[in-house]
Amino acid sequence: CTSVVAEDEKGNLLHARNLDFGLFMGWDMKNKSWIITEKLKPLVVNLDFRRNNQTVFKSTNFAGYVGMLTGIKPHTFTLTMNERFTLDGGYIGILEWIMGQRDGMWMSFLTRSVLENATSYEGAKRQLAETKMLAPAYFILGGNQSRQGCIITRSRLLSIDVLEIDVKLGRWYVLETNYDHWKDPLFLDDRRTPAMKCMNQTTQAKISVKTLYDVLSTKPVLNKLTTYTTLMQVSEGKLESYIRDCPNPCMPW
C-alpha cells in the first residue's frame, strides 16, 4: 500500500492511497496476476454510512468486510491505514484474545469506530495513537486545516512515532508505504523512493487530486497487488475510487 496526505499552497489537505493486497496468496502464471487480488477487485465498493439520513462518514471497502481501511469524515478528517510488519504481530494479539485478554482493539474495528465517533482531527489522532491494538499498523490521517496531516506508526501497545506535515520545514506532504519512515525500505520493495520522487517533481504548487492520481499510477507504486486507488478531499467531503490494473511489465508487489 501507498498512502499520502498533502497540503496544497492554499492550505487544503488532500489524501490519496493505493490499496495493495494478496501477496503470496497464489500466483496465476497464465495471467501474471495474484489470485486473491483479482478476486478482491469485484468486491470494491464505496459506502455512505448514514444516521438520521445524514452522512456520518464515507469509505471504500471490500464487500463483506465491516472494518475500515480507507475513509473520510466529510469536512473533518480523512483516514487510511497501511500494513506494518513486526515480530510482535497480530498472531500474538489473537492468542491473547483467545486466552481471554480482550482489552485490545482489532485494527479495522478501531478505524471504523474512529470514523463513526471521532468529531475532530485531534480526537481521531488521539484514539489512533493511544488505543491498545491486536496488531501493529500505520495510520495515515489528514485533517481540515493547514498542517493537519500525519503518519502514526503503531505497535500493538504503543504509538512509536508521529510524523507530521510541517510546511515551514518544507514537508508539505507525508507519504507511507509499509516501512518505518526512519528506516530504509526493503530494497526489493522500495515504492517510497519513486513515489517521493514523483511528489517532489509535481511540487506543492501543482499538487491536486489529478496529480496525486498520476503519482499513484506510476510503477512500482502501481503494481500487481494494487486493487484500488482512492482520492479524498476533506474540504469538499469528496471521496472517489477507481479499480486498477497494472499492465506488463509490472512488479508483483
Partner: protein, 123 residues
C-alpha cells in the same frame, strides 16, 4: 518510458486523470449503509448485490488453504472455531458479520476469517 528490468520503475506519469487506459479497470459503485437499522441488516443491500463475488473470493481463499493442508482440516478448523470468535467481537461488529453470513450463505467462520484477516496475515 518504463524500464524493462525490475522494479520496472517508470518516469513519473502525467495526464492519467480522469482515469482511463490499461491501468483503469473501472469505477466503484456507491451503496448506503444505514446505521439506524439493526446491525444484522445493515449490509443486506451490499451483500445481496456482491454475493457471488464474495463467494468466489472466499472459495479462492479455501483453495489456498487446501493447497497448504490438503486434508481440508484447516478449513474445518475455521468453520468450527471462528464462529465462537464472532460472539467475542465487540458490538456491532459481531452482529454485522453474522448478518453478512446469513445473507451471503457463506459459513460464519469464513466471514469472520475475512474480517480478522489483517491480524492473522501478520503471521
Amino acid at each position: 518510458s518504463t524500464q524493462f528490468i525490475p522494479p520496472y520503475t517508470e518516469e513519473c506519469r502525467t495526464g492519467m486523470y480522469p482515469p482511463n487506459g490499461p491501468t483503469f479497470r473501472g469505477p466503484v459503485s456507491w451503496y448506503t449503509v444505514d446505521l439506524d437499522s439493526p446491525p444484522s441488516q445493515r449490509w443486506t443491500a451490499v451483500i445481496t448485490e456482491k454475493k457471488q463475488d464474495l463467494i468466489r473470493m472466499i472459495q479462492a481463499v479455501r483453495n489456498l488453504a487446501n493447497a497448504f493442508v490438503p486434508s481440508g482440516k484447516l478449513i474445518e478448523l475455521v468453520d468450527i472455531t471462528l464462529p465462537l470468535m464472532a460472539n467475542t467481537l465487540p458490538s456491532p461488529f459481531g452482529e454485522e458479520i453474522k448478518g453478512i453470513a446469513e445473507v451471503s450463505g457463506v459459513p460464519l467462520g469464513e466471514v469472520v476469517l475475512f474480517n480478522i484477516f489483517y491480524e492473522i496475515f501478520t503471521v
